[in-house]
């Protein structure tokens, strides 16, 4: 599902118009951005947890050219799915 149809579904469920849902979305994403940039993790019961993680620098080798490259350290935002999503995906898998 893409962003547009997701927003449409939100509108129908909440009974709010497009502009209002957009404002909510941008505010929510703003909070997520600020918090994750501060290394705060956001965990939502059932859905999952957004967690910024540090990755150390490492050396990689290009198999084609044999060149070694030093990849700098970085921070990434990881998402760990919660129990609800996990069980539902498991059920989907067993079908």
């Amino acid at each position: 599902m893409d962003h547009k149809s997701f927003l449409e579904q939100l509108q129908t469920r909440l009974g709010k118009d497009r502009g209002e849902v957009d404002r909510y979305m941008s505010a929510f994403l703003q909070i997520m951005k600020e918090r994750c940039a501060q290394m705060d993790s956001v965990s939502i019961q059932g859905f999952g947890a957004f967690e910024p993680k540090k990755k150390l620098e490492r050396v990689v080798v290009n198999p084609a050219s044999g060149k070694r490259m030093l990849v700098p350290p970085k921070m990434i935002l990881a998402f760990k799915p919660g129990s609800a999503i996990k069980t539902k995906l498991k059920m989907l898998s067993s079908k």
Binding site: M1, K33, R35, C36, D40, S43, V59, P73, I76, L92
Partner: protein, 402 residues
């Protein structure tokens, strides 16, 4: 920092940000996550602009071995959820490390050492972005301080050369003051020196790190030698003026010595002979020598003042032309982004340096460029017309080089 934000926290944050009740904020978030969960659980991928892409991925069944019993088991095929954060979010999270880029290692470079350091300094690495900046500033400041100090001594050195023109030794007292004045005048000079290291990027800072110690030692050496030259000049002048002047002048030198020694409590030997005995002719040489000694003290104090003055007086920020040097990885666009907030404004840097840039697409490394004042070309990153104007100009310039 490292806080864990739960659903209720998120609700109150959103409510305060939007200025709505917690109930409404909760209703929105609840629906948001419910729909997300439903979509993802159905095995469909979900893309939310600004957050990222959730994508359930089918993992094929594979055979494995039970570690305890050694029996071969088959792991059945299953879904796993992959999450790719949106570019905006990814860059926001990685902001502290955004200045790093992938580096190609040469063949002879050993990585063992590096990795060992990397593992040890795991905890330290977290703080690098914060710690790096203050120390850099102090290094560049130290440099800025040393330079004017050296300049100050140089101007001080010229002073004694000009001094012999005045015949009377009495005027020495007034001479000593101009030295102080002269040496303090170069204060405004640190501005350009201060500006450039501040604007320099991380690469330059690293070079400062390496060079600062040796460079500082070098400048202190220069400072010390210049100070010695000044002292020699002072002493030479005093001996010369002492010989050339008559007894009345010597008397005055003596008086001056006394007054000086009283002022600066450091000249204690002179204080002992602070009786009017100084008038006698035999004191000719002895009076001269303490005078010179006291004078050197003054000179030292003066140079001390000169050295400490630029430290105390922070350079006033002015609209000095900022200079940048082209290096690998630095382009007109990156400079424009850094100084004006938008890449499109590179054209104005080009306009400003038309004489030195032959082809804006290929600027040789090491070219020094002047960054123009934003007001000069009406540069405003938030103004759309200003950006558009720059883009139109860019197209014009580019067409010339095709």
């Amino acid at each position: 920092m490292n806080e864990k934000i739960s659903f209720p926290d998120l609700v109150s944050l959103l409510a305060s940000k939007m200025g709505v009740t917690k109930k409404e904020a909760e209703a929105f978030l609840k629906e948001f996550f419910t729909i997300s969960t439903e979509v993802i659980s159905s095995g469909e991928e979900l893309k939310i602009n600004g957050l990222g892409l959730f994508k359930p991925i089918w993992v094929e069944s594979r055979s494995s071995v039970n570690v305890q019993t050694g029996e071969p088991v088959e792991i059945p095929g299953h879904y796993k959820l992959s999450f790719v954060p949106d570019k905006i979010l990814r860059e926001a999270v990685n902001a502290p490390f955004s200045s790093f880029s992938v580096e190609i290692l040469n063949d002879h470079v050993s990585t063992d050492e590096m990795m060992a350091v990397g593992n040890d300094a795991h905890e330290e690495q977290e703080n690098i972005p914060c710690e790096e900046l203050p120390s850099d500033v102090s290094h560049s400041e130290a440099e800025a301080i040393v330079n004017p100090a050296a300049d100050a001594v140089e101007t001080g050195q010229e002073q004694p050369d000009a001094a012999p023109n005045t015949d009377k030794a009495v005027s020495e007292q007034t001479d000593a003051e101009p030295v102080v004045n002269e040496t303090t005048t170069p204060e405004p000079q640190p501005e350009p020196v201060e500006n450039t290291p501040d604007d320099s990027t991380d690469d330059e800072n690293e070079i400062y790190f390496q060079k600062s110690t040796s460079r500082r030692a070098f400048w202190w050496g220069v400072l010390a030698s210049l100070g010695a030259v000044v002292l020699v000049c002072m002493i030479g002048y005093f001996i010369w003026s002492g010989k050339g002047s008559d007894s009345a002048n010597i008397l005055k030198i003596g008086e001056y010595t006394l007054s000086l020694s009283r002022q600066s409590a450091v000249g204690q030997e002179v204080n002992k002979s602070s009786e009017p005995v100084v008038l006698s002719e035999q004191n000719d040489t002895t009076t001269v020598m303490p005078t010179a000694g006291a004078e050197t003290l003054v000179a030292e104090q003066a140079s001390d003042v000169a050295a400490s003055q630029p430290e105390a007086v922070k350079p006033v920020p002015t609209v000095e032309p900022v200079e940048e040097t082209i290096r690998s990885g630095v382009f007109l666009t990156t400079l424009a982004l850094k100084h004006f907030g938008h890449k499109a404004f590179w054209v104005y840097i080009y306009e400003e340096n038309k004489g030195t840039i032959k082809n804006p697409n290929q600027i040789p490394i090491g070219t020094r460029l002047t960054i123009p004042d934003a007001a000069k070309y009406g540069i405003d990153a938030n103004n759309k017309t200003s950006v558009d104007r720059a883009k139109a100009l860019a197209a014009q310039i580019q067409s010339r080089y095709e």
